[in-house]
């Protein structure tokens, strides 16, 4: 745990009254190591540790507080500040999405292969049904993965949410036609489950841009695997450049991954982390709480 890592570092400094340029070096190095071991991307780590260093040097050591404890508090608070976003939850703790009144709200899921988009689409539909009394329509826009449409249909059946499927058209066509089907069917939310794609696949990135262009989503979520390592800095940047992302969802955080990708995605895209996936089941979706993830990343 970072606190135990710090006891040795701060044993050297504890004799001093102030945090100085010289004695802070080891502490900052310890933070850097902890974050890299937690899979936070190198560029994000460098930026963050520099911010922490400046903040620590700028503060007076509080009376009665050990410098080490004060330093850890600075790190923890900076981490929480980085990852949190104001006004994302209402007073009931529900995620405040950009719901529209004039037409169905469109939510688009995008991300790399296997990140959890299809499963999360179902979880989100159930969440909106239960917490917001919405009447969602799931859209099977992955027409390339074998049995992807079947998978979403089984998911939809399990949670009592209808699925719009059209195995004959192209993904942008399917999504566009789904909007009309949603209107006709009295659905107030449409969730587009798209195919997994590499950010370096030009054709598939063009396709997902086309889907966004034709459906004008109110929310576009980057769905990212919580076990992702250094590559998160590249994939998050590319998806953020190609699509007007409005948020991110980090999945599979029920494992023992430290979850550094959460910090990377937030830092690189600047977009709020809206939810985290914490199980394979349809109720395995939680609204994001920065302080919980901060503790996990710091170990």
């Amino acid at each position: 745990a970072i606190s135990s890592r710090f006891t040795d570092v701060w044993r050297k400094i504890s004799g001093n009254a102030t945090i100085s340029e010289d004695n802070i070096k080891d502490a900052v190095r310890a933070i850097r190591t902890a974050l890299l071991e937690a899979d936070v991307s190198l560029a994000v780590v460098k930026n963050f540790t520099e911010r922490v260093r400046e903040k620590a040097l700028g503060e007076d050591v509080l009376k009665g507080v050990r410098p080490g404890e004060q330093f850890i508090k600075i790190v923890h608070d900076e981490l929480v500040n980085l990852m949190a976003e104001a006004d994302t939850l209402d007073d009931q703790g529900r995620a405040r999405l950009k719901f529209r009144g004039d037409r169905p709200t469109v939510i688009m899921m995008a991300g790399l292969q296997g990140s959890g988009k299809t499963t999360t689409s179902g979880k989100l539909a159930l969440y909106l049904k239960k917490k917001w009394k919405k009447n969602p329509l799931l859209v099977a826009a992955d027409l390339q993965r074998p049995a992807a449409v079947d998978q979403l249909e089984v998911v939809g059946k399990g949670i009592g949410v209808p699925v719009f499927a059209d195995r004959k058209s192209t993904p942008p066509e399917v999504c566009f036609r789904a909007l009309e089907a949603a209107r006709k069917g009295g659905h107030d939310v449409v969730i587009l489950d798209t195919a997994g794609r590499l950010h370096v696949d030009e054709d598939l990135m063009k396709e997902v841009q086309e889907i966004a262009r034709r459906t004008q989503p109110d929310e576009i979520f980057f769905v990212c695997d919580g076990m992702t390592g250094q590559d998160a800095v590249k994939s998050a940047k590319a998806f953020d450049e190609k699509l007007p992302l409005t948020g991110a969802i980090l999945t599979k955080l029920d494992g023992d991954s430290r979850g550094g990708a959460v910090m990377t995605v937030r830092a690189i895209t600047g977009k709020p982390i809206r939810f985290v996936g914490i199980s394979e089941k349809m109720d395995g979706l939680e609204v994001f709480h920065a302080d919980r993830v901060a503790g996990r990343i710091l170990g």
């Binding site: 890299l36 190198l42 959890g116 074998p146 998978q151 390592g229 430290r258």
Partner: protein, 279 residues
């Protein structure tokens, strides 16, 4: 990197950062930097242009000295069990292995032992139809071990050469699912096939960070993993975690996944892999 330029701390720092960015992890990167620094100290390498080739040669040796070939039964048919965490690429990799084995003249049978996830059997069935190989399936929510067992029985009665068993994604931290995996592993032998499964492949997503080490450790304990299939290497992730797994858990890489089609795969080529690490 100038020819004949003396090695300095600057170039060494750049090298360590490149390893971190390739998902080697802090500990492994540090260990390898010690190896490089010793070589510098005893003058094995002196100039900056010698640093990377030295490290790459070292890495290539580490990744290959245990051998990277698939294990087959000494006599009779073989069983290959495929495991890994959710979404890593197992089902697609099973299809790729089926295609690969068929291309080298082996008759393959598949066992769809993921009886849990939505449309998992449908997904593998589609692949078996495209490849043209037999598939053994069970009822929805059937005991996965029973499907693996029937797969082994079908392997024997059909005279096929290899059985590939696809399993459900599971996190190595889920005790009940890892216990289930132990049962599946035991069922692969169907009590008649000696040494089965002859190969247990852990499919690892190349984008996975340091958690890959925990995965390798726990899956090896539960199912005796003997090889890695590094999937999604066609992306930008370098897959450097396999080096730590190779050193600390002693599991070699046997195949890499390079796309979503059955032919998008290759037996592991350490030269190609190591050269690409520092691109």
């Amino acid at each position: 990197v100038g020819l004949g330029q003396k090695i300095d701390d600057d170039i060494l720092e750049k090298l360590e950062e490149a390893m971190i960015e390739a998902d080697f992890g802090v500990e492994t990167s540090g260990f390898l930097m010690d190896v490089v620094r010793s070589a510098w100290k005893n003058s094995t390498i002196e100039t900056t242009d010698q640093v990377l080739p030295f490290l790459q040669k070292d890495l290539k040796h580490r990744l290959t000295h245990r051998g990277n070939a698939l294990n087959f039964a000494k006599a009779g048919p073989s069983v290959i069990l495929v495991v890994g965490v959710n979404g890593a690429g197992k089902t697609t990799s099973v299809a790729k292995l089926a295609w690969y084995l068929t291309s080298i003249g082996k008759k393959v049978v598949l066992a769809a032992a993921d009886t849990f996830r939505a449309a998992a059997v449908e997904q593998l069935k589609t692949w078996s139809q495209r490849i043209g190989c037999e598939i053994v399936t069970g009822a929805d929510r059937a005991d996965p071990a029973s499907v693996a067992h029937r797969g082994a029985e079908r392997l024997l009665e059909s005279g096929a050469d290899v059985l590939l068993v696809d399993t459900a994604g599971r996190l190595h931290t889920q005790k009940n699912l890892m216990d289930e995996l132990r049962k599946i592993h035991a069922a692969c032998a169907a009590k008649k096939i000696e040494g089965a499964p002859h190969e247990t492949i852990l499919v690892l997503d190349a984008t996975t960070g340091q958690n890959a080490l925990n995965q390798a450790d726990m899956f090896k304990q539960a199912a005796n993993v003997t090889g890695l299939f590094l999937a999604k290497l066609d992306g930008t992730a370098k897959g450097g975690a396999v080096l730590t797994i190779n050193e600390r858990v002693e599991i070699p890489v046997k195949f890499v996944g390079l796309g979503e089609g059955v032919e998008d795969m290759q037996p592991f080529d350490a030269d190609q892999f190591v050269d690409a690490l520092f691109d």
